[in-house]
């Protein structure tokens, strides 16, 4: 077995130090006053069976986004020799993050009372009683823990799109484990941790950064980590000269569709309730997604003369990403415009920007999730409607919200870029990041997993 415990320990040590340093550093620059919590906060501590039903369902939906959704979305886009290796990444990440989450990172993200440092309760879920509620939400803590776990799963799985076709499976597992602990958990804590009354605990939440369902925590975070990793790993052999066309867009369209359907759990589930806020979140999600798919398609149609399957599904995912932070705060009209903009900007992100700088973000983890996340986070500050989420945006006369959003975006970008970079460099030094050129030529399926699609 190629993962050696020693290597893992060697890697964790310094990286952990970095987190702590980084946390403290940020503490000084961002000691802002507490603001309203992002998530709705009904006061009653009674179990709501309807809300619980919806959260159980949402958990299933968000798990479905990663397996098989994202697995198929990415798997269809690589060359045939790498399809199983790509699917395997999403599946294995699901397993690894599940264990890391219950052992450590759930508690890091959602317990503790320090605005900068993650908590350390709930190690191996100790003390989580069967009938405890996840206050202020009227659902059992077990359900809330599971729902949030599915977010912790999909985030590193998104990163894999950036380094597709060339990363060692063993190194990928180590990277994802450490990244979950040192990057995902702290950022989730900063943005989403609340006390039992729903008051923000993390410094970004206190600052008033709006992120309903994970624009910063999930998408910007994964997108930037993806960009860093494709820079550190280098380009695929043969890029950009050889034909690296997606081998089976049937898989990708199926995956994109399941992502779309599952995203209802992601966004409407983030209301942690089955009420009008959840309904409105679902509606704006649908509208922004359709709008972004159409604007990407239209742009491609005009520029490239043909509307493509890869284009329309990429646009849909761009819309889903961009509306994620906004989904509890904007109204349908805002969502429509937000979606149209996101489709166009991400089209540029996945075509213009990438070729301008020449990095090989293979499946556009940064071009779609990073860029889309940034666009969405900022536009949330523009389109936020007080009657929906309790906070006004620029269009309702509150330009400060855009600034707050920008602070959230920049903090996340800086933190994830630095820590991801260090992690990758350490792992590279210890065990190597990339498969050998022969293995890459042969394809991950046979080289790493000894299997092939016949």
């Amino acid at each position: 077995m190629s993962i050696r415990l020693k290597d893992v320990l060697i890697a964790i040590g310094p990286a952990l130090g970095v987190t702590l340093l980084a946390s403290t550093g940020m503490a000084q620059e961002a000691a802002a006053p507490a603001a309203a919590a992002a998530a709705a906060a009904p006061a009653t501590p009674v179990l709501d069976t309807g809300a619980t039903a919806w959260m159980l369902t949402s958990t299933a939906l968000v798990l479905m986004m990663t397996i098989p959704g994202l697995a198929l979305f990415y798997g269809g886009m690589v060359r045939k020799k790498n399809v199983l290796g790509t699917l395997m990444q999403s599946f294995a990440i699901t397993c690894v993050v599940t264990v890391v989450w219950m052992a450590l990172t759930y508690g890091m993200a959602f317990t503790g009372s320090n605005p900068y440092l993650p908590g350390f309760d709930r190690i191996f879920l100790s003390g989580m009683g069967m009938n405890d509620l996840a206050l202020p939400n009227p659902v059992p803590e077990s359900v809330f823990m599971m729902f949030q776990m599915t977010f912790a799963i999909i985030t590193p799985a998104l990163i894999t799109g950036a380094f597709a076709d060339r990363m060692k499976f063993s190194s990928m597992l180590v990277f994802v484990t450490l990244w979950s602990i040192l990057v995902y958990a702290p950022i989730a804590h900063w943005v989403w941790a609340t006390d039992e009354k729903g008051n923000a605990i993390g410094f970004l939440g206190k600052l008033g950064v709006l992120d309903f369902a994970g624009g910063t925590v999930v998408h910007i975070n994964a997108g930037i980590a993806g960009l860093v990793s494709c820079l550190v790993l280098g380009k695929r052999k043969g890029y950009p000269n050889e034909n690296m066309a997606p081998h089976n867009l049937t898989l990708s369209l199926t995956g994109a569709s399941l992502l779309w359907v599952g995203w209802f759990g992601f966004n409407a589930g983030s209301a942690v309730a089955s009420n009008g806020r959840a309904g409105m979140a679902m509606a704006v999600t649908q509208i922004a997604t359709a709008a972004a798919a159409l604007s990407w398609m239209a742009a491609e149609w005009m520029i490239r003369k043909k509307p493509s399957v890869l284009g329309i599904i990429s646009g849909a995912v761009a819309g889903l990403v961009a509306v994620t932070p906004a989904s509890g705060f904007v109204d349908p009209k805002g969502a429509l415009i937000l979606g149209l903009i996101a489709g166009l900007v991400c089209y540029w992100g996945a075509t213009g920007l990438k070729h301008m700088f020449g990095y090989d973000d293979s499946l556009d983890a940064f071009g779609v999730h990073g860029v889309g996340g940034i666009v969405g986070a900022l536009l949330t500050g523009v389109f936020a409607v007080k009657a929906i989420g309790g906070t006004s945006g620029l269009l309702e006369g509150n330009p400060g919200q855009v600034v707050t959003q920008a602070i959230g975006v920049c903090t996340t970008m800086a933190y994830t870029a630095v820590v991801s970079f260090i992690l990758l460099k350490v792992i590279d030094a210890v065990m190597g990041l990339r498969v050998s050129p022969e293995e890459e030529r042969e394809g991950l399926d046979l080289a790493l997993h000894g299997e092939t699609v016949h």
């Binding site: 066309a245 213009g352 990438k354």
Partner: protein, 112 residues
Amino acid sequence: MKLIMAIIKPFKLDEVREALMPLGVQGLTVSEVKGFGRQKGQTEIYRGAEYVVNFLPKVKIEVAVNDDIADRVIETIQTAARTGKIGDGKIFVMEIQQAFRIRTGESNADAL
């Protein structure tokens, strides 16, 4: 005996096969191939990256025939496979020294 190898457009396969039956051709073997020639392939564009698909799908027919009908077979293929547009394909003729039917062990003319 001759081995007649024809590379044609895929949608012409059924027409060619049917045209050959009356000549007494009792069998043939077909492969899916990719052809490169004067006819230019499509450009596929994926997220801004262009891939020129140099190779076009073609079908290769291999049919072994006796010398006496070889010319008629060639002509028939030419007529049936022709669209008059670029990329219609080629026919190559080679000599077969021996032929066998596996089931019976019959050889040469009897084997076809």
